[in-house]
């Protein structure tokens, strides 16, 4: 093809591009672009009508500028004009611009859709393909609405050209992925399946992708595709390398189509029909056989294409998991690749073997490669390959090789890349726990982890070892002895001090008989680390000390001396100071009995999914724990792992420290609230422990108890007189909320009084006030007619779990409401814990004999229980930083729905409930707020920031709270208000 025909259309464009390339600096480039933009703008605005060619050229320039990373805010109209040009290249550039720079500007979408419609109807295949490409590239819901019904028709029409069918199939796929509800299933689906038989390989290639996607949601409707796919695959696999002409790629017949067919088959179980299954097994065997044949070409493309089919074949074999013979052959094949000189193949073999390891048929075969895999872990130069090797070792681990694998992984950890250390630590911890035969090995392993990679040992890991030691009395003595020895090291990791401190505080008595580890020795060893540790660890050690006073009365005087020291009692850190004061007082005033009760050994922890396993899953996504989840090949392992009987745990007082503890809900305090100053309260609130009270207990326990729910409230609120229990008709008895219920609810997020609902018959007004976690609401029901309402009964319903989150008591109202009269209903509300859905108000009555019913959302949202909190900028930022976990933050960027007025915004934020803090944000246009959500079980500290952008008419709203669902929920509620 002569080079002269390329891109020759637009010399001005080429000149512009070389100008840009010649720019020496970013500034020069921007200057040149601005000049160009001004030029194009003037051309577009000028009096002289532009011809199609110039329009095309300028639109193309704008596109180039956009692709350089600059914003483009005009030219859309000109691009749309190009769509209706009857010159192919103008149309083509128009479509390209639209595909790259779609704008949901509704006016334009209508015009674009119009142009597409014309092209689809043009019966010119080139134009039809352009239109289909555009729909597939944009894939928006608006386009789906406009075209999803037409495209199936084009796809199966007898007279559609092959190229049109191909584009239609993939266009439909994209629309189906974006909005499945818009694509109507129907008679066409059967005909789509038969495209698998099409003579044109390109049509088959496109159609398989569509069918694969459709059959995932409607497997039964597409079942016939199995036999068609098998026969197509069989024909390809058995064809000679040249049979398929242009569809042969480096001597491999139709590799893309083969891979897609094998993927399609993975949507279904093995074929039921024996003949089909036999034919398929033959195909799979042929692929495995071909892998052993000498290559037909030395090119990497040949081997890649061939192996792509091989790996997909192995995936299908693993998916079926029913042919032991094939599984073992697959495993042997992968075993060969483990030592291949191509890094890519080694990587994929390791990855694929991971899934083979979880099949009972191939698990043993995978295990035979353990030495190769360990070697890969040690010698691979590419970290991503080493990572795969570590994954495979984890997957192939069982009781028989656990000690070897764990020790290899520990050794690897010493030199492992920083990026994967934490994951290796988690894996070692899980394997050690899962396959521990004796728990002393487990304890040793975890302590080794801390020694080797202390910085990467997350809280979950060391919490877990404490959990297990607490629950198994056969290992407690050993654990105490081992940590005691580990703490002798001159420099030991702080996590070791934490584990050591906790274990000695609980079980130090078990080694106290040995003079080398007598109580005073234990204490002075721990205390020698004290000053080097962080506040969190020091707080934990103080708890250990008070436990020592209980365990070893002989240490009382020494420890009281330490607690009394000025450095503790007047410590600048509130938490440490508080603990020192309280523990000192406790040790002085409490009798031995009381002390023994308060500081009793921790009860066993209730068994649930290992918190570290959960963490690994979070890190790796689903499937990460597959080897462990898969209990079938090693049923006995469950006994060991889950050997701890679930025990109801008594609740001990949690610590109020924010940093020490997981940021999760904790049980309510057992002790009655002690008065505490506002400043103190704030510190506590930003952990999301229960309403914070001075605590006593050891601090590490809280995370373990984290998933315990507070007991359901039994007693109604004492403050309220004459409570009539809300008669819950149960959600199934009442209708769904009226369509506008959400909108009505939104009106009350930032205000407490107003008209909640009104129609021709009835008006419902609301007046409410909230304080702390309590609220009172008056509902006024006005009969707007002149006829009496009968059987008038408004009730409050708690959908879902709301019952345990919010208590609402109503008083009954008169069953008759006279025409023109108004009745009042009082609701007493108590927020027990954070909640997301509001209660429902169901109103039923008879009007002129006809039953009326209506369900609304009661305007009680979590923000009603906000208490504004004033604080200085410095405090604000400190807390802001403390809440920096990604899940603690929720952010929304949204368009302003109302005029952007600072005073109105201020009023809304105050109505929302938070305090507004001046002089915090350096930008005076922004709003910053803080407050505490008060519930009975816990308090949630909330910080918010709202950044208006008047020019773009947009807002950005950021919420940070100590509880993830609360952040998100508040963010959603508030974002609707502007």
């Amino acid at each position: 093809m002569p080079a002269v025909s390329k891109g020759d259309g637009m010399r001005g464009l080429a000149v512009f591009i070389s100008d840009i390339r010649n720019c020496k600096s970013k500034e020069a480039e921007i200057k040149r672009i601005n000049k160009e933009l001004a030029n194009i703008r003037s051309k577009f605005k000028g009096d002289k009508a532009l011809d199609g060619y110039s329009k095309k050229k300028y639109v193309c320039k704008l596109l180039f500028i956009f692709l350089l990373g600059h914003d483009i805010d005009f030219g859309h109209m000109e691009a749309v004009n190009l769509l209706s040009s009857n010159k192919y290249t103008e149309k083509q550039i128009g479509y390209l611009f639209i595909s790259v720079l779609v704008n949901s500007n509704s006016e334009l979408i209508r015009l674009i859709n119009n142009a597409i419609k014309n092209d689809l109807a043009s019966r010119n295949p080139t134009f039809m393909c352009l239109a289909l490409h555009c729909i597939a590239n944009v894939g928006s819901r608006e386009m789906g609405e406009a075209f999803a019904a037409d495209i199936p028709r084009i796809l199966v029409a007898g007279d559609s050209m092959d190229s049109v069918k191909q584009s239609a199939a993939l266009c439909l796929l994209r629309l189906y992925k974006a909005s499945p509800d818009l694509v109507p299933m129907g008679e066409w689906t059967a005909r789509v399946v038969h495209l698998l038989n099409d003579q044109h390989m390109g049509v088959v290639t496109a159609a398989v992708s569509l069918i694969t996607c459709l059959c995932k949601k409607n497997p039964d409707d597409f079942k016939t595709c199995i036999s068609l796919a098998v026969s197509r695959l069989s024909r390809i696999v058995s064809s000679a390398s040249t049979d398929l002409q242009d569809y042969t790629y480096y001597f491999v017949p139709a590799p893309w189509l083969s891979v897609k067919l094998l993927r399609l088959l993975q949507c279904y179980p093995p074929p039921e029909d024996a003949a089909v299954k036999g034919r398929l097994v033959e195909c799979l065997e042929t692929v495995l056989n071909k892998a052993q044949e000498p290559p037909k070409s030395k090119k990497v493309q040949h081997s890649n294409a061939k192996n792509a089919i091989l790996f997909e074949t192995i995936s299908l074999i693993i998916h079926y998991d029913s042919e032991p013979n094939l599984l073992v052959r697959a495993c042997n094949q992968l075993g060969q690749f483990l030592q291949h000189r191509e890094t890519n193949l080694r990587y994929l073999a390791l990855e694929s073997m991971c899934t083979l390891a979880s099949s009972e048929f191939s698990h043993e075969a995978v295990k035979t490669h353990i030495d190769t895999v360990i070697n890969a872990l040690k010698t691979e130069r590419d970290v991503s390959v080493r990572q795969r090797a570590a994954d495979l070792l984890y997957a192939m681990c069982d009781r028989s090789n656990a000690k070897q694998i764990v020790s290899e992984m520990l050794r690897y950890l010493e030199t492992a890349d920083y990026a994967i250390r934490e994951e290796i630590v988690l894996k070692v911890a899980i394997l050690a726990e899962k396959y521990a035969v004796d728990y002393s090995w487990y304890v040793d392993t975890i302590l080794n982890l801390i020694r080797i990679a202390g910085d990467y040992v997350s809280e979950e890991v060391w919490y877990r070892v404490l959990q297990i030691v607490t629950n198994r009395d056969d290992v407690q003595g050993y654990a105490a002895k081992t940590v005691f020895e580990a703490l002798q090291a001159p420099a030991c990791h702080e996590n070791m001090v934490k584990v050591g401190g906790y274990i000695l505080g609980e079980f130090g008595n078990l080694i106290a008989g040995d003079p080398r580890s007598s109580p005073p020795v234990q204490f002075s060893l721990l205390h020698s680390k004290f000053h080097l540790c962080s506040v969190a660890t020091r707080a934990l050690l103080l708890s250990t000390y008070i436990k020592f006073i209980n365990l070893f009365p002989e240490t009382k005087a020494t420890i009281q001396g330490v607690l009394r020291a000025g450095s503790q009692l007047r410590n600048a850190d509130v938490e440490l100071q508080q603990r020192a004061v309280e523990y000192l007082t406790l040790s002085s005033v409490a009798s031995t009995d009381v002390l023994a009760t308060v500081l009793e050994e921790m009860p066993p922890f209730p068994e649930r999914e290992s918190s570290i396993l959960a963490k690994l899953k979070r890190k790796k996504g689903p499937g990460a724990g597959s080897a462990l989840d898969d209990g079938r090949r090693d049923p006995s392992s469950n006994d060991i792992n889950g050997g701890v009987e679930p025990t109801p745990s008594t609740v001990s007082t949690p610590s109020p420290s924010a940093d020490l503890l997981g940021l999760r809900a904790a049980p309510p305090p057992a002790a009655p609230p002690a008065p505490s100053g506002a400043g103190n309260l704030l510190v506590d609130v930003f952990s999301d422990g229960p309403a914070a009270q001075p605590g006593l207990g050891p601090s590490a326990e809280e995370a373990f108890l984290s998933e315990l729910e507070p007991p359901a409230p039994e007693s109604p609120m004492a403050l309220l007189a004459d409570p009539a229990p809300a008669a819950d008709p149960g959600p199934e008895d009442i209708g769904p909320p009226i369509p506008e219920a959400d909108e009505l609810l939104n009106k009350f997020v930032c205000k407490n009084n107003g008209v909640l609902f009104e129609n021709q018959l009835l008006q419902i007004g609301v007046k409410s006030e909230f304080r702390q976690n309590l609220g009172r609401m008056y509902l006024f029901y006005g009969n707007k007619t002149s006829v009496q309402f009968q059987n008038f009964s408004p009730t409050v319903v708690h959908p879902g779990d709301l019952q345990t989150q919010l208590a609402v008591q109503t008083k009954r109202v008169a069953a008759q409401v006279d025409g023109g009269a108004q009745v009042q209903q009082v609701l007493n509300i108590e927020c027990l814990r954070d909640f997301l859905t509001p209660p429902l108000l169901s109103v039923r009555f008879r009007y002129g004999g006809a039953p009326q019913s209506l369900t609304l959302k009661l305007p009680v949202t979590i923000n009603k229980f906000f208490q504004p909190t004033e604080m200085a900028a410095q405090d604000f930022f400190q807390r802001w930083k403390q809440l920096s976990l990604p899940q603690q933050e929720a952010q929304k960027i949204f368009k302003a729905n109302h005029p952007m007025d600072a005073e109105v915004t201020k009023a809304k934020l105050l109505g929302f409930g938070s305090a507004l803090l001046d002089n915090v944000d350096p930008n005076p246009e922004n709003f910053v707020g803080a407050g505490i959500i008060q519930t009975k079980a816990l308090q949630v500290g909330c910080l918010l920031r709202l950044e208006p952008n008047a020019q773009a008419q947009m807002y950005r709203l950021t919420l940070r709270t100590s509880k993830e669902p609360v952040s998100r929920h508040l963010c959603e509620l508030l974002a609707q208000q502007f």
Partner: protein, 156 residues
């Protein structure tokens, strides 16, 4: 496939194709992150890496990196050959393609890609068929240029 990026050794983005809806901001962020990650890798390293919950498949041709993001169940090796086939198509069309061809004729690079991949799936693997579609368009273009009688006035 979720997206394909072409960028130079200096980290300049030469072509971007997104098959999932993302905001411009998110696209820029992803691009920045991935360009950095891929450029930091050494020559002999493997062509696949895990990134977020996607798999990245990349290959370098002269000064250009071709980088695809695919989903968990997608096949890495066949994706590598998708890249290669695209390079072959460009090469055949431009006649031993180089980075400059793609810079100056970026629209053509997009058109060729659309014929080959649509909605993130392979549409047509036959080199002949893909190039036939593009050639037809070029013929149409040439005849139209003649109508316009040369390009002399076309400077800006």
């Amino acid at each position: 496939m979720q997206f394909m990026l072409l960028f130079s050794r200096q980290g300049k983005l030469r072509l971007q194709k997104w098959y999932v809806p993302l905001s411009d901001k998110e696209k820029k962020k992803i691009t920045r992150e991935l360009v950095q990650t891929v450029l930091a890798r050494k020559p002999k390293m493997c062509s696949f890496l895990e990134w977020r919950d996607l798999k990245i498949v990349y290959k370098r041709y002269a000064s250009l990196y071709f980088c695809c993001a695919i989903e968990d169940q997608d096949n890495e090796l066949i994706t590598l050959e998708i890249i290669h086939r695209y390079v072959e198509l460009l090469d055949k069309y431009f006649g031993s393609v180089c980075e400059l061809d793609i810079i100056f004729n970026f629209e053509k690079a997009y058109f060729i890609l659309d014929e080959f991949l649509l909605g993130g799936e392979v549409q047509e693997t036959s080199k002949k068929n893909v190039l036939k579609a593009i050639e037809q368009a070029d013929l149409l273009q040439e005849s139209q240029n003649e109508e316009w009688g040369g390009l002399s006035e076309d400077i800006l």
